[in-house]
Symmetry: C2
Subunit: 507 residues, 2 copies
């Protein structure tokens, strides 16, 4: 072909790819609304029909992604001269295409069936505190997931393949190195806190009317600058955020005895939604308008939850609003609120109720166990004991039941192995990004104290959100911070903050 | 083939058809949830992405319906020996398949583009009270719809083809005969009412807090037996009902000065949702679990709205509850409430605010005009004058503006021609079904007075709902009532009820 003809053909091929990918986006986004509806709005009777609707959309999406013509277009475009944005789109779709085409449909359906059945089995096992009931299902899921990984890359560590489903661009070695470092640095810190005489007090002890809590959650979202024209707040038993740059919704939960929980949960989910809302409108329909993977997403939620929402500056800004809603807080000082928001509970067994610091121990325990389950170094029957041993070692506390131990979280019953580490990897990235933002926009604390979040959010928009999935995670981090992904900032942040809060000489 | 092989092949073909049709149902039902969300929950910013999502689902659904393999399966099954239910499924899918395959995709897309652009044009024309602005768009829509009809059946009256989109089994001659009869019988009745000295009073005059109205709407739904495990109530500017037998939702609206409006709107939408909820669970995914077309659907909403909700018995049952919510109603008697609920407003120009009786004049005017527009007997430019003349003739009142006249309703801008008549056809059927139910379950009024709706609803479940689309509309009516579709019952009902209410000697 003459160069001109070739260019036309490449342009056509790219347009065809774009149009197919936009269809996929529309199906996925539509399914996202159905899932949001299921969690937040749907009457219980709707379950069987909704399951069928979601299953059909998932099949269609799989069929469209794995259409051989998609493969031809990718082949053609990979051989062509594309600009940076086009190359990024091709790179992201290629990854999804290769994964989707390499696993036989039968295995996907088997896994889907096992997980559908696993949910009630896990629920019962947890209720009855009986790991034995869940063990055979877990065994099957591990075997199927190993097989799944082998189809994708027979030469790779299967756990690394599964991990890449959630975080494709930070390799497992990096993840392991970071998690080991967190363990090695945080275990002694948590021990020291346990030995400290400091009590951070119960500024938020008491009961708080859930309806007023909801109003306060709206105040929180007003304060941090949530765009209500493109979002909404609802309640859900397990808070989450979902949507697109045009409509990114937040959910939270209200517990009469846990006002702080609803505030931190709202700020956390705001972080996710705010990332989604910062994706470029014009990128909708391709990876250029999609978020990066779980590590980056979690960095956004953790940055807002921890670096903003648990800062003393935030409480100086927000406490008066909270006290307007709940006059019982009139006598609480910003310092006391800050301290209460950062109490470390070293006797807590439940991940979802954990503080900022011990949280990572929950992650590390499950990470170490699931990695060994997939590799075959650990047998399913030994999980409860190993789980309890690790809690004793890392947190100094031993679960007395499996319900409070290895059965506490739903993820394995979903067939999710390799998901957990991204929670900690995201926290680590949050600290790195916050430090880089501080370098550039000046005294963020002073701005937060004034309720001025524009500069911080502007930095995030400019350096993270607007790029969508144009860059891989390591490139994105490098561009945003000038250096590679590192746990240094998180360790500094954690040791300095908690060293001061708990008056620890050695920190 | 040997008979046994043939049977296997037919079974396989039927199963394949079923599975394809269930996929279609899942896509359509999913799109229904997206539309509900758009009207009820979605933040405004979500509009552009939602439009794309719905457009993709609509394309996929069209592609799957018109897949040539669908045609092959239908051919094979039509030649086979099927049972009643299977034949019904094949009949219904054949009709949809033939319609979808006979219209060129380009024309479908053109119409879709015209209607998308028509909406803002109509909105502006209505706001500016300027029919001229809307006229060229209306002209284009009429031409495109004529062309559309010609593709489906070049030998048929194009308006009849369009009408069949909404009501495929009652032919246009039947519809015309019924509408003419309504006009001939109701015009003198409305005139007589206009001359009557009776004033039915303003039992519901006043202002009513919208939040309390919402509680009262929930009371209404409790009273008539809405299944909250499979439904929910929300507000929407234009109330509607949507869903499946597993999840059929109701919306209503609240106007401070119109308590009665929210109650009748809630009961009306309940009638729709209650029909959907009565469809058999096991039929989900095929026409056996889908409702019949608009006439039957509207018969269910009108039966509950008018024959139940506007009856004296209902007000004897419900008024105490209403008075609990609104103590201002303490002094109102059930008779007064009944009278207020049945006031005829012969000077009202707006369909959506019309009473039970004059409502049909609004329908008939638009029906006569749109029929003549499609046939070419009426030019677009003459619509406003003909509209106003007909209002004067049928209702004795002449609109002073087009905004209050021919521009009042959105339907034409959607490209919906042939939809309007089903509103009246449904009311007519409601009266026929209610009479048949009374014959079988005894004194329905006495039951309603006691708040006992089980027998009436049981009759509807047994005779209408559970059949889904197994029978055509005429067959369904014949089976349920023992006779063909007729306006006799509606005319009797209307003349008797309003003759008494307005003390008319001649009725």
């Amino acid at each position: 072909m003459a160069p001109e003809q070739e260019a036309t053909s490449v342009t056509d091929a790219y347009e065809e790819l774009e149009s197919r990918v936009e269809r996929l986006t529309n199906i996925t986004a539509g399914a996202g609304v159905l899932r949001w509806d299921q969690e937040v709005m749907m009457p219980e009777g709707g379950t069987p029909a909704r399951a069928k609707q979601l299953s059909t959309l998932s099949s269609i999406s799989h069929e469209e992604l794995t259409d051989p013509e998609m493969g031809n277009l990718l082949d053609e475009l990979e051989a062509a001269d594309l600009d940076e944005a086009q190359s990024a789109v091709v790179r992201e779709i290629r990854r999804k295409y290769d994964r989707a085409t390499s696993v036989p449909t039968e295995l996907v359906e088997e896994i889907s069936e096992t997980t559908a059945n696993a949910h009630p089995v896990w629920t019962e096992a947890k209720e009855e505190d009986d790991f034995e009931t869940f063990a055979p299902t877990l065994e099957t899921l591990i075997e199927q997931k190993r097989e799944y990984a082998e189809h994708i890359d027979p030469d790779a560590d299967p756990y690394a393949v599964l991990f890449a489903e959630y975080e494709p661009y930070l390799d497992l070695e990096t993840a392991e190195r970071v998690l080991e470092r967190l363990r090695d640095e945080l275990v002694p810190l948590i021990e020291a806190i346990g030995e400290s005489d400091v009590e951070l007090g119960g500024a938020f002890d008491g009961t708080f009317d859930p309806e007023t809590q909801e109003e306060l959650s709206r105040d929180v979202l007003d304060t941090v600058g949530y765009d209500w024209d493109r979002g909404r707040l609802d309640t859900a038993p397990h808070p989450f955020s979902t949507g697109t740059q045009f409509d990114a919704r937040v959910t939270t939960r209200f517990d009469e005895e846990d006002l702080l929980g609803s505030i931190t949960s709202t700020v956390h989910e705001f972080g996710h939604a705010n990332y989604t809302l910062g994706l470029p409108d014009e990128g909708y329909g391709t990876p250029l308008g999609e978020s990066r993977d779980l590590t980056v997403h979690e960095s956004q939620s953790r940055l807002w939850e921890n670096h903003v929402g648990r800062s003393e500056a935030f409480w100086e800004c927000f406490l008066p609003t909270a006290a307007e809603r709940f006059p019982a807080l009139d006598d609480v000082s910003a310092r006391e609120a800050y301290e209460a928001a950062n109490q470390v509970y070293d006797d807590n067994l439940i991940r979802t109720e954990a503080d900022e610091l011990t949280y990572h121990m929950h992650i590390i325990v499950r990470f170490e166990i699931e990695r060994d389950l997939i590799s075959g170094d650990l047998d399913v029957e030994d999980v409860p004991e190993v789980w309890n041993d690790k809690y004793e070692e890392y947190l100094g506390v031993r679960p007395e039941t499996d319900a409070e131990g290895c059965l506490q979280d739903i993820h394995w019953s979903h067939g999710s192995f390799g998901y957990f580490p991204t929670y900690s990897l995201g926290s680590v990235l949050a600290a790195q990004l916050y430090a880089a933002a501080e370098d550039e926009v000046g005294d963020v604390d002073a701005q937060v104290r004034e309720g001025a979040f524009d500069e911080l959010n502007g930095w995030l928009r400019e350096n993270i959100h607007r790029h969508g999935a144009t860059y891989t995670t390591p490139d994105l981090v490098e561009k945003a911070t000038g250096e590679g992904y590192t746990a240094d900032y998180f360790i500094d942040y954690a040791t300095e903050k908690y060293g001061r809060l708990y008056d620890l000489d050695e920190y």
